[in-house]
């Protein structure tokens, strides 16, 4: 079996974290939250790492030229145990002139959590400004309090929760962070029809919010939700000081002159995060400056500069040329390239990142399970990988991929059998089907190549595809109108968002179930998943995975990954949900 991506990350990072420690950072003295580096440090004891066959194949892993050139390397073991810096933060105060250049995936639409959508659209920048109530650790799958003090389930079926906020946290204009403010912020997600970001969707399970006291809220849910804290690790956990936007607070989703100004450059008092917006030229650069009164302070890195270079390949090139210290990557080929280059990285595995969806609606040829089965039997992920991803895709024959933290032996793979596929196609054709399916695919790489490969494989078993390549926006619109037989559409289930993304796509009651798929068995499994803590989720997800195969719901062919790479100079990035990274513990040594 392949070693999980997480472990390999760990192996790669081990040495570097030690170097960083030698350079003055001290892991032992880090704040309560483990950072990326901490997880690495913890795992260095793992004996499996040294035996990792993948890693030994890679000369860069063992012989990192940067490391060998570094004279400090030899001192590493001593330094890690040496309490060089016995304070509660990696630095005494903000280091003047220190800056991290961060390459983002797409420009931030607005400095408003309501309009953001994970790290893909501004999540990282916004989280740095507002901070988050909770932090999700993607490696341990734990949700731990950050701005909040605690979150506890008051009953066994996870429907009543009490959240307590940390005491003494105030915005820079003196406004305290209160339970009322958290509740008011939640309301904003319903100010307009439709919730646009993933975690905001969780809020719909809240039936009642009770303000117990200034720092305590009690939530009553209409559905058992075992990991309710995750909601407040994402956008709803970024609490906006609504006073600074005044009466427009609930109007933020609609355009207005004041709101526009707020979106581009929120005042310093808008958030309690480690950073304030110093300069924001959308599309060119966003510069955040460290706040000197951060509650968890001091903040070490003085400025973070977010720049956008279109495309992961371009972003990575800029990273390699030294233009960026941290780069967000989301392209299997580029991500693999970075691994091959021996660059430090943290990738979130995204199950179902590469897949096609069937239209299950009546009247569609793909409503016939025989046809869906035929396609699932014919689609060989390795061919797509070879032809569209240059072999960089983590191919899977199951929805829960081997790299997923939820993978278990119970996960079944779908089978490949072109002869049986061809026979099934013949059968359906004999019933009067004309042999042609409509196929909607993206026109940005690797969309076209992948579409050709799929066309080729289905063509080989007698299915003719009428392929339409279109812009992502257009194909999403087609997904919405249900005008397709087959469409490329990943469900992108990361470690934290796994259950929600499955519900969004598979639940018969989900408004965003685009396939027209409905199954009582699946609905029951999904409810079960919601009520199960992450730690116990693997068997439930395996059952969902097997149900997908059994009902020929849709064939995944690979899991992708998204995340960041960073230079040796940087440490202390904290990964959380939705591929967001937090900067309050970040250090840069340049």
């Amino acid at each position: 079996m392949r070693l999980s991506r997480g472990n390999r990350v760990v192996a790669l990072l081990a040495a570097t974290s030690l170097v960083l420690a030698a350079c003055g950072g001290d892991d032992d003295t880090a704040t309560e939250e483990p950072t990326v580096d901490d997880t690495v440090a913890d795992d260095t004891d793992d004996p499996d790492d040294t035996d990792d066959p993948d890693d030994t194949d890679d000369p860069d892993d063992t012989d990192d030229p940067d490391d060998t050139d570094d004279p400090d390397d030899t001192d590493e073991p001593d330094d890690t145990d040496d309490p060089v810096d016995p304070v509660d933060a990696p630095c005494d105060a903000t280091i003047p002139g220190s800056q991290i250049d961060y390459g983002i995936f797409a420009p931030n639409a607005a400095f408003d959590p309501v309009g953001s959508s994970g790290a893909l659209v501004g999540g990282t920048e916004i989280a740095a400004v507002y901070d988050v109530l909770f932090i999700f650790d993607p490696t341990t799958l734990e949700v731990r309090p950050h701005l909040a003090e605690s979150l506890t389930a008051d009953n066994d079926d996870f429907t009543v929760w009490t959240m307590t906020l940390r005491e003494g946290i105030t915005y820079s204009d003196g406004t305290p962070l209160t339970a009322q403010l958290v509740a008011d912020n939640n309301e904003r997600y319903f100010a307009d029809e439709g919730v646009r970001n993933t975690s905001g969707g969780f809020l719909q399970y809240i039936e009642e919010t009770e303000i117990v006291d200034d720092l305590t809220l009690r939530f009553t849910l209409n559905t058992p939700l075992a990991e309710f804290g995750l909601v407040f690790a994402d956008e709803p956990g970024m609490v906006v000081n609504l006073d600074v936007i005044g009466d427009d607070a609930n109007e933020l989703k609609t355009a207005g002159p004041d709101v526009d100004a707020f979106r581009v450059q929120p005042p310093d008092a808008a958030g309690v995060g480690p950073y304030v917006v110093e300069r924001n030229v959308p599309g060119e650069e966003t510069i955040l400056r460290a706040r000197d009164d951060y509650w968890g302070g001091p903040v070490c890195v003085e400025t973070i500069r977010f720049t956008w270079i279109p495309g992961s390949a371009g972003t990575y090139d800029a990273f390699r040329s030294g233009e960026l210290d941290v780069a967000f990557l989301r392209d299997p080929v580029v991500n693999q390239q970075a691994i091959d280059d021996g660059v430090q990285h943290f990738y979130f595995p995204q199950d179902g990142g590469a897949m096609i969806n069937f239209n299950h609606r009546e009247g569609r040829a793909t409503a016939d399970p025989r046809l869906r089965e035929a396609i699932m039997l014919a689609l060989d992920p390795e061919i797509i990988n070879d032809r569209a991803y240059q072999g960089a895709l983590n191919t899977t024959l199951s929805y829960i991929g081997p790299d997923s933290p939820y993978y278990s032996d119970a996960v079944e793979e779908r089978t490949l059998d072109t002869e049986r596929a061809a026979a099934l196609v013949e059968e359906v054709k004999a019933d009067g089907w004309d042999g042609t399916l409509n196929f909607v695919a993206g026109n940005a790489p690797p969309g076209p190549d992948s579409a050709i490969a799929i066309e080729a494989m289905l063509g080989a078993v007698g299915i003719e595809l009428d392929t339409e390549l279109m812009a992502t926006g257009d194909s999403i619109a087609r997904l919405g109108t249900g005008d397709f037989d087959i469409i490329t559409n990943g469900w992108n289930s990361g470690p934290g968002t796994m259950v929600l993304s499955l519900i969004r796509n598979l639940s018969s009651t989900s408004p965003t179930n685009r396939m027209g798929y409905a199954s009582d068995a699946m609905d029951a499994l999904l409810d079960d998943a919601l009520a199960t803590p992450f730690a116990d989720l693997a068997p439930v997800l395996a059952a969902i995975n097997n149900q997908i195969n059994e009902e020929f719901v849709s064939p995944p062919f690979g899991s992708t990954s998204e995340g960041v790479v960073w230079t040796d100079d940087v440490s202390g990035l904290v990964p959380t949900v939705s591929t967001i990274f937090l900067f309050h513990d970040a250090v840069v040594t340049n």
């Binding site: 390949a313 080929v333 061919i383 070879d386 032809r387 569209a388 240059q390 026109n443 790489p445 076209p448 190549d449 050709i452 490969a453 066309e455 080729a456 494989m457 289905l458 063509g459 080989a460 390549l469």
Partner: protein, 326 residues
């Protein structure tokens, strides 16, 4: 003496294509040296055998163009490996390097499609598109140009403003704007390219018409009672058509590049139908590891454009009175 360069160059080229496998840059360099040597060898032989003023480059260019046209026309009859249907190449190796002695002499692309076949079928598309575009452009642009050049006056002024407007768009931007409005296919791309060529042809035709409209045979025709339509079609068009056509080679070259540029940007004819542009575009992502996917169709395209320009220069010198009068 110099004639020895021909076999020598051939051997060098043979080595480059067959024996050397790595690195690509060296392979390319050796191949170029071989080709240059062969050229000088042929040049020397032709100058001795035919005449000392033999224009080897022109005849080689013309020969290449004839070869490309023949291959494109008779592609279906050639024993080519699969180049258009990826469902037939599922078990074939993708991104095969060129090897003259294999079944894929020029290698395969990411979909395991044969590049030699792709280049030949691509030539078919390039030629189809550019010839349709040139024909439509010549006819429409030519007629507009002749008419406005003959009547002058307000019509001419209006046509002038329209052509100025069309020429005010940078060509590629103009094409992009037009092509995105329609489903890309041979016909739409051809018509978009024709639209691009129309203002140029209009100007050329108008300029030539002005020269001919001064001549007395036009007056004579009017004296005979010919109507304007007849004068345009019988007296002016036959005279304007030749200088206009003399530009066709060069315009075909421009259009081939324009079509390829569209395909390259992903808004032209879509794969797996091979065109030179979309073959090059498909390979650019793996430039570092499999450069041949880009540079084999690229080289064919470059040579074709080069030959079109060479032949076009000669055609223009021979057929365009203004050019030859100078």
């Amino acid at each position: 003496m110099a004639a020895l360069l021909l076999p020598l160059g051939a051997v060098v080229l043979w080595i480059a294509l067959g024996a050397i496998t790595d690195p690509t840059a060296l392979r390319l360099a050796v191949a170029v040296v071989g080709l240059v040597a062969m050229y000088f060898g042929i040049d020397a032989i032709a100058k001795r055998l035919v005449s000392p003023t033999f224009e080897t480059d022109f005849w080689l260019s013309a020969g290449w163009l004839v070869l490309v046209v023949l291959l494109a026309v008779f592609a279906d009859l050639l024993p080519l490996a699969e180049a258009r249907d990826p469902s037939l190449t599922l078990t074939q190796p993708s991104r095969e390097r060129p090897d003259l002695f294999s079944s894929h002499p020029l290698g395969t692309d990411s979909q395991a499609l044969d590049i030699l076949g792709g280049v030949i079928y691509g030539a078919r598309v390039s030629l189809q598109v550019s010839l349709i575009a040139v024909t439509v452009g010549t006819v429409i642009g030519g007629l507009i140009g002749v008419t406005s050049g003959y009547f002058r006056g307000k019509l001419d002024g209006g046509v002038g403003i329209l052509t100025d407007t069309l020429l005010a768009f940078p060509p590629l931007i103009f094409l992009l704007a037009v092509v995105t409005a329609f489903e890309p296919g041979v016909i739409t791309i051809s018509l978009a390219l024709a639209l691009l060529g129309i203002p140029t042809y209009t100007r050329l035709a108008r300029a030539n018409t002005l020269a001919f409209a001064q001549r007395e045979f036009v007056l004579a025709a009017r004296a005979l009672g010919a109507k304007p339509g007849r004068i345009i079609l019988r007296e002016l068009v036959p005279n304007v058509v030749r200088p206009l056509l003399s530009y066709s080679f060069i315009i075909v070259a421009v259009l081939i590049v324009a079509e390829a540029s569209l395909s390259f940007l992903g808004v032209g004819i879509q794969r797996p139908t091979p065109t030179w542009g979309n073959m090059i575009a498909a390979g650019q992502g793996q430039l570092e590891t499999t450069p041949h996917v880009v540079f084999v169709p690229g080289a064919v395209m470059f040579i074709t454009v080069f030959c079109l320009n060479r032949v076009g220069d000669k055609a223009r010198a021979a057929w365009d009175p203004k050019q030859s009068a100078l």
